[in-house]
Symmetry: C3
Subunit: 348 residues, 3 copies
């Protein structure tokens, strides 16, 4: 089954030349956007694999750090190009979409498909508890600027966004110390999936090549957002929350679901929840600092549906995962919640 | 003790002819309203019993389905007549009242009275976990339209209400599959209360007769709401949340509390929490579809106190029930919460 | 280590004559404010110790009641003088600050410092569950008036505040019955810290003297609030939430943290969470009744940041404490949350 995924991803690489050709030939923006999106999916997948393989070969500490830093590199690259293009709403929407997509849709599909033929599946609730609490704290941090934005002038909201971003990054570093140093035995990986499958040099080469091509495709993708928004009548919010958020993680998401179907819920939940945590506590604050450094600061003022979506997702994902058990119905519940939110984001 | 309840309910049937007479004689609206309300209480009780008896005799699958569908039939009938009369605020308020009344007042009284002479009572926390999560998801779904209503025109809110209603019904059907098919052993009933006490034909007859009379009394009741609201100075919100919500469930509620006093917390919680779940995931969406089918669509825009009341009730009921244990203080806490909400709804 | 704390507190008594001299000499308001604040810290510490010692010698029932009533006496005294001066915003802010400070900063520091050299620390999750639920109910009660305040005229908000205050006090009394009577074995104290260290007469004398001097210093402190607010450009909100809330509890807080470092998490959590519960369910409602009795009623309308801060703190503290285990990272998470809120309150 794992072979299948690799074959599909390999075949999708054909979209790299197609999207570049579409861009050079100035084809319709919709064609450019979707071919670039389809090209990024396998690239993100191979980049994730390269990161993972490399991290297995450099010792747990540095390896964990690698994973923790490059785990959502595709999202970060797309977001940086969107920042540069001034598409702040798309960036913030893709952060929201990444957080709720991982927590609801991916965890939901994993629990649903993994639980279909099983009475229940179990996972390490303590590790998930750490993730849940981190997400809850990030959620509170991310909603504060929205709450106070109508009272403040712009400079204060900027200061608030920077202050909260700083605290979130410190909290993220603390969680790395926890998982990589003081409590690393909780995160021990003993299975077959922890052994290296690729030489170190090949992993480094793959990492460099995929990063470069992802950057190119991201620029193409971002350049076509506005045109897609106009032609298809989709809001930038919907494009960010539903589409951009899915592209960067599609391959990783497939892995999470496949792992759940093989009853390895710890790995599955680790990928999905870990990715949400990383977006909220690292990617979002880093983007704030980057934009501030560039002199065109993005604040952390999310709109109220994003705020409610993030809070509700964190609370419900925590309710479902706190007992360390899952079944297909819990998966279906998370998917239902995601569907309701998608309806709202589509209608707005 | 069970006999007592039946005797009281039997005696209350006298209010059927009284309320009909009051209606025909065009007596004061207050008299009509309260005699009709008192007539519905025993009718709802006997209808519930008929449903229960019938469901024991048709096998677990169909039986569960029967219970799941007719469990809140009284509320549904009252709501349908109120819909027809255009009393949308009363309908929505009675949904809110049904959800929080079951979760806070009935569960609270059960835990309080059941826990008075006991160190603690235990119940199946896994079953309650399924209910809690369902309620949380329903709560999020029910608050979405309120959140976005001030941004949208009416057609969009209607589309959103229909979309969310559809998802809630699917989620409810999924929970039926879970409890009646894939995980039915979690819901096994072994006690004396699971054996039939009535012949099948008698149960069917009782079900038909009570349904017919409840429909009649509901029409009388709804016809008098406006007049009661005017004469007593009570808002339609208060009448819906506190009064209408109680009438349809009074008998069932008594059973839940009596079961808790006999230390059968699983059954008690099953009745109260199950009823809340059913109102949120089945009755509310069905009413949206019925009203839409009639061409006079009711949306799901609850007012902000209803929203806060629903969310707070779900979160706190989940906190209290997640450990599978209860004591009198937890009951008192739920009652205190209900009291605070009743104060707000009374003052509005 | 305990000796150290007493020595420090003893040395701080020097601020009593200094603050009185500053007041009599009409020195700068900032000097008056901070010397009075520094004088209250040791006084509150010794008053707490006197209460504790006295309560050990009068039997569990009365002793618990004493602790429950005088546990936050310093805060109550300061608040009463602030009420008299009409500083309603400072009073409400100091209530908020007391609730979130205990739950986040003190519990956070306790878990962090206590967990630094340990894999994990454990505590009685059932006792904390009672506290958490109480706090959640109080949080809902305290936010209701804010929610409805823009719809009502003043008299209704006053009635609502009184009604909710009454219910909160009843809930508090119920929790005393639970901890002191029906379930007192859950709260049993067997350690060395439960034996008396002071004669009864000395404890009574100490209690009377500290109360008198605290009252004097509180009057001085409150008299200087306005001047501090003007000179330092700090809002009354910030002074209330961050500064006044810390003064009254500094000594008690030190004890909570020291106990956590000695691995007595039950006592540590009991002090911090118990103090939050008491402020929310006893001090806040009592202040409402006192102000109403004086004819200059304070309502319970907190501003929206206070509302969000209280709700978020309760939810997250509950997530972290519900498993009866803590580690340094959970402590760091609570501290991070407090830091984010302090940033907001500072910027407002």
């Amino acid at each position: 089954m794992k072979l299948d995924l690799d074959t599909i991803l390999g075949a999708m690489l054909i979209f790299i030349p197609i999207s570049i050709a579409a861009e050079l030939l100035h084809l319709n923006g919709i064609i450019i956007f979707f071919t670039a999106a389809l090209a990024i999916v396998p690239l993100a997948g191979f980049m994730g694999k390269a990161t993972e393989e490399l991290s297995k070969q450099v010792g747990a500490g540095i390896g964990g750090l690698l994973n923790a830093t490059f785990g959502n590199a595709t999202e970060l690259i797309i977001a940086i190009f969107a920042l540069q293009a001034g598409l702040f709403e798309v960036v913030k929407a893709s952060l929201t979409g990444g957080i709720i997509g991982n927590m609801l849709l991916i965890t939901g599909c994993s629990m649903f498909l993994g639980g279909l033929k099983r009475e229940k599946q179990t996972f390490n609730s303590r590790v998930q508890g750490v993730n849940s609490t981190m997400l809850m704290i990030a959620a509170v941090g991310l909603v504060m600027p929205a709450l106070v934005s109508h009272l403040f002038d712009f400079n204060t909201v900027e200061a608030l966004s920077l202050g909260i971003s700083g605290i979130l990054i410190i909290a993220y570093v603390a969680s790395l110390l926890f998982s990589l140093k003081t409590h690393k035995h909780l995160y021990d990986c003993g299975g077959e999936e922890c052994k290296p499958h690729m030489s170190r040099n090949r992993a480094i080469l793959l990492l460099l090549v995929t990063t470069a091509v992802i950057a190119l495709e991201s620029e193409i993708l971002v350049g076509a957002v506005e045109s897609v928004s106009l032609s298809l009548g989709l809001s930038e919010l919907f494009i960010g929350v539903i589409i951009v958020a899915i592209i960067g993680n599609a391959a990783e998401h497939s892995t999470a679901i496949l792992m759940a179907m093989k009853n390895n819920m710890d790995l599955s939940m680790g990928i999905a929840m870990g990715s949400s945590t990383q977006i909220a506590l690292l990617i979002a604050p880093v983007l704030v600092f980057i934009s501030w450094f560039w002199g065109n600061p993005m604040d952390l003022v999310f709109n109220q549906f994003e705020v409610v979506a993030i809070i509700a997702s964190v609370v419900i994902a925590n309710m479902i995962s706190s007992d360390g058990e899952s079944n297909w119905l819990e998966g279906a519940q998370l998917i239902a919640l995601y569907a309701m939110m998608a309806v709202v984001f589509f209608l707005i």
